[in-house]
Symmetry: C2
Subunit: 508 residues, 2 copies
């Protein structure tokens, strides 16, 4: 006779199977599916989404959760308590929603995406505005329905941000983002002066042939423990990482013309995401397919990808180690030595496009989006004034003004799908990564020393032992507190940037 907990686990296992089938279809769609397959694929995904939603909100499932709760004893292990608490919270959220709203949102997201694609291409914000208004209204309605299920009082934006960043609050973000907003523009200015003083040319005209980039990406992954028995690497229009099963991981990259280091850095980034997924707790059958076996937040996920992309692959020691290899494969050195090579990894130049931004300006792109989505959702910013407001803030934060909305408020897909509350996780990733790296250095000594001697496996081990193993046992804030002994702060990230800038200013 199965216990209630076993029955629940069985249910969750099947839910996970269905969800991972969606992931497999998503991977196929974005790597190899021919264009004419799109409509049918959309129908397949919608069918699975319906089944998933049914499994996660049915009264049969609610009964399973309730039975497992009734069976729970105060002496039971803490993880079991937390698993059930997390499931209960998700369930209450699912059940707080009016099914009619769920359907309306799904339709509005799909329409929003299509209209945005078109509007962006034609640089026509007015064509997109009504869809954005609809999405804002529906999301506001969703937030209001979800309020009932929240364990504490949360603003509409906070409610919507919970799925990405559990327990995030506006107060916390205000505290974290204020120092970024205060200091990053000055650092960018310093970088501009440095460029002028060093007479630094625009990015070099050279490019790396595709097979060379492919080869270097493979070598990078091989040196970081890539195992083809567990991971498959493919090409896609936008790099991503996904998990198809407990032993089946995928990452993708793309080669961008004129950006010889783009694929290499994207590979480092996506591999960082995948390492986190591969390192999540799996051994104990209480942890898979239970919530505790999942990543704890998008911010923590991003901290792992950014660690490998920025802390490791953009470091001086890494450039020193790889410079000979790049030069050999290319049969030349267009960077004029390892210092120039390192500089190529760190342009530190503000631009209009978020996904092309480097460490120095990235968070300002997020500060801008966060403020605007707050104004749209909770303030009094009318949708019609979004482009103007975007451009004003862009000038204030980055000293640039987009010449078109395509390079301005139409550049990202998130709002077009009604994803409000998501952007801050990207910036949190930078801050968490920096603060975790500080703790790591206290334990292991300078990260660059490990990199110089190709000991990245020691860094991986440390992350595995201190970060990955927790799954959702700790939320992002608790994790940082636990690992670093301090609440999350902006200072470690800023200190890291100041240090990098200083070394760049010093020169070769």
């Amino acid at each position: 006779m199965a216990t209630a907990l076993q029955s629940l686990q069985q249910h969750l296992h099947q839910t996970r199977l269905l969800g991972s089938i969606s992931s497999a279809l998503y991977f196929d769609q974005n790597t190899v599916m021919p264009a004419a397959g799109a409509d049918w694929r959309g129908e397949q995904l919608a069918l699975l989404a319906t089944q998933l939603h049914e499994r996660q909100s049915s009264s049969a499932y609610a009964d399973l959760v309730a039975a497992a709760e009734a069976e729970l004893h105060p002496d039971d292990p803490e993880p079991r308590h937390r698993n059930l608490a997390l499931l209960r919270l998700e369930l209450e959220r699912q059940r707080a929603l009016d099914p009619a709203l769920v359907a309306a949102l799904a339709q509005a997201q799909s329409r929003g995406n299509a209209i945005w694609q078109n509007a962006r291409q034609r640089n026509d914000f007015a064509a997109f505005a009504p869809a954005l208004e609809t999405l804002l209204a529906l999301r506001a309605q969703q937030a209001s329905q979800l309020q009932a299920a929240e364990p504490e009082l949360r603003s509409p934006w906070e409610v919507l941000a919970q799925p990405f960043e559990p327990d995030v609050s506006k107060a916390q973000l205000q505290e974290l983002f204020a120092p970024l907003r205060a200091e990053l523009p000055a650092l960018l200015d310093r970088a501009r002066c440095m460029d002028a003083a060093q007479g630094r040319a625009a990015s070099p005209e050279h490019d790396l042939p595709e097979p060379v980039q492919e080869q270097l990406c493979s070598e990078l992954l091989a040196s970081w423990g890539y195992n083809a028995e567990q991971c498959h690497r493919a090409r896609s229009a936008h790099p991503f990482s996904c998990t198809l099963g407990p032993g089946d991981f995928r990452i993708t990259t793309r080669v961008v013309r004129g950006q010889p280091l783009s694929a290499f850095l994207a590979t480092a980034h996506e591999w960082g995401h995948s390492l986190y997924e591969q390192g999540l707790p799996r051994g104990d059958d209480h942890w898979f397919p239970w919530p505790l076996g999942e990543a704890t937040s998008m911010g923590v996920h991003e901290s792992q990808s950014l660690f490998w992309e920025c802390r490791v692959a953009r470091s001086r020691a890494f450039a020193q180690r790889w410079h000979p290899r790049f030069s050999a494969v290319l049969g030349g050195d267009p960077w004029g030595g390892e210092f120039g090579f390192w500089r190529a990894f760190n342009p530190l130049k503000p631009g209009l496009i978020r996904v092309e931004a480097d460490e120095l300006s990235y968070c300002l792109h997020i500060v801008l989006r966060y403020q605007l989505e707050l104004d749209l959702l909770e303030g009094d910013l009318p949708v019609a004034e979004l482009p103007q407001q975007w451009n004003l803030l862009m000038q204030e934060l980055l000293g640039l003004t987009p010449s078109t909305d395509r390079e301005g408020c139409l550049q990202d897909i998130h709002w077009a799908e009604g994803l409000f509350g998501y952007f801050p996780s990207y910036a949190l990733g930078h801050l968490i990564s920096a603060q975790l790296a500080m703790a790591m250095e206290q334990a292991l000594g300078p990260i660059e020393t490990q990199i110089a001697t190709a000991q990245e496996s020691a860094l991986q081990r440390w992350l595995s032992d201190h970060v990955w193993l927790w799954g959702r046992s700790l939320n992002a804030g608790e994790l940082v507190q636990r690992v670093t002994g301090q609440p999350l702060r902006a200072e470690p990230f800023l200190a890291y940037l100041r240090g990098k800038l200083e070394r760049l200013e010093t020169g070769p």
Copy 2:
């Protein structure tokens, strides 16, 4: 208010969606999935199989079919009648089966496959024998349960063959295979003498580098109307073709060391399968996702792949046209002229392995398997005597004796999964292809004339207009009768082989 027919169509549409999700997972599994993903993938596929079986046998579905039948009027279009008749037949078959037997069979197939993999590797037939006995017993039981649903009296083997080759009978196969058995060994002997007379060397030592093979396969497909918007081509251990949606087709090939033409011919073969799938009736919404939108039999499917592989790609005209291209890409001519190149496409040498057999010996491999599975299932051949019987027949038909069971009765996967009744479709494909080609030549003139002038699109058009458009409106026999004005016979295939042999004997 939806009609019963519309409700039924809706149900079939969702069933088709689920089935095509399985196909997508299968494609991923055989092209890119990392090895460690296998167990989870197995669970995903099992979940979908359960859902599919439920949808195809539930009483809710039975009610939908019954309601559509009740709504049917004698004046309704013939395709509607046939669609419902085919659905009724499938449904009765599904419902005739004891669910316990279905489960036992699924388990036995999965175990059979695993045990066979192992036994084959260790060349240990005795280890496989008990699994084969179990599968035979379960299939016999299945056949006996299915008898009740059959519209006419059928033997156990005939019942099991129906899903692959609707309406096939032993009497028909006896009539078709007897001339093959009588004449093919003599033709093989003639080919042997020709080799001796021409002092033909063993296959040349050269090989084509992988990128060259890749390039030539791409050029072949481009010349045959391949459209990357609708089809994706990948690599897999065994070449296959599959359909993931109404606009989403996939084919795979592999490069075999030491067999420079293998990938090229496999590409032609799989593209032939895919062309049939791409040409099935889709326009009329009565035909998709209805049965009439499906391929009519495995034999007809194979006739389409064999047409492009054998009739076209192994023809003299094709060799003449491609010889300069192969020589240019390779930078040399190891075949010593276009005649030698054509010979390389037509080894006409018997071997022990079915999947490596050419046109002259392939059907003898099938005659052997067909006779043995009849003896196992309906006769008195004990499983323990299978290896000995196999070797005797192999000597009689092909003049060869396997030195191990791995090269004998353990070579194919079909019986290990309990697939009895499948093999004859391969041979039927050769016969159907030859008879259709005869009709095509009566209409269009010699096929080789079209090939010589790169007019393969005319051949495609003819197949589309005379074969593909029928879907399951006609079964294989009816299709051949309709297109050629004659029942299916062995003579056109034998005449074609005699003609090819004669031209080869004549020399350059």
